[in-house]
Symmetry: C2
Subunit: 168 residues, 2 copies
């Protein structure tokens, strides 16, 4: 029986397929005691990398899902230039991760929930939206927010119900 | 004969001493073909780590001096919480690095040159100052900018004269 992500790919709904991969990465992270954030980087409609937040696992406050995915993508593609790539992120990238996308010259960010949603469940977010940072910083990164928001909100619910959850 | 940084330490000018260590790290980076940025993280007036930008060396677009120093400090102190630490940075941290300082709960940023200076020599900076991001994001990180600016500007001059310089 094909998995949900297989079905989406077969039905040629690539955005849903790639976001589903990011969600699955986040779920894997939650099951390992990590925080509920996942990302998937895609180039030419092909997956480069999926990753989840590994801040606790790696004892590295910078290892958010997007930063971690960008690092891995740089290693895999052997370049610091991710032009043409799209990043699917279960939550709106924080200003650190948005800026990393800008530096990597990622073409587009597609995200599910919003920074304010992550703030509500206890993360020490800087309350600056991607649109604000893009506008003030004159970045050419494209942004599509609120994609599959309901499905992504379920990640926060799943994490909130974990006994060993730890925000930061 | 004592080095400049020894003299500064002996004369109890700790800010100058620590910034000098950041400058020396940047100079080491330049000599290795890296970009002209260095950082030094200090806790209780003791150096935790010094680091320079290793974006080219590590093929990692996120490996700015500050991010790299924060990662190393997390490893060394075995915590993601750098409360009480001060980071000395040769240039104003970009929005990615400022946000990393916020997440790490660093107490204070002391920087030399400004984002606009790095932009002028060819870096694809997001033109958002630390003060703007602190104010908009409601961060408690303290900022002291323009510290030893002239000495730090010399790093840009030194790098600009390198044959193998590469901005990004």
């Amino acid at each position: 029986m094909p998995s949900l992500s297989d079905i989406l790919r077969m039905k040629k709904i690539p955005d849903k397929h790639f976001m589903t991969l990011a969600i699955l990465a986040a779920k894997k992270g939650i099951s390992q005691g990590q925080t509920p954030f996942g990302a998937c980087i895609v180039k030419n409609e092909k997956v480069v990398i999926t990753a989840h937040n590994v801040v606790w696992k790696n004892t590295d406050i910078t290892a958010h899902a997007e930063i971690h995915a960008i690092r891995l993508a740089c290693q895999k593609l052997k370049t610091i230039d991710l032009s043409g790539c799209v990043i699917y992120s279960t939550c709106e990238p924080c200003p650190m991760c948005f800026s990393a996308c800008h530096w990597a010259r990622i073409r587009k960010i597609v995200h599910g929930t919003f920074i304010r949603d992550a703030h509500k469940i206890g993360f020490n977010e800087l309350s600056v939206s991607n649109y604000t940072l893009k506008s003030k910083g004159k970045s050419s990164v494209q942004i599509l927010g609120g994609f599959m928001r309901k499905e992504n909100q379920l990640l926060f619910k799943e994490w909130s119900e974990c006994k060993r959850k730890r925000a930061y």
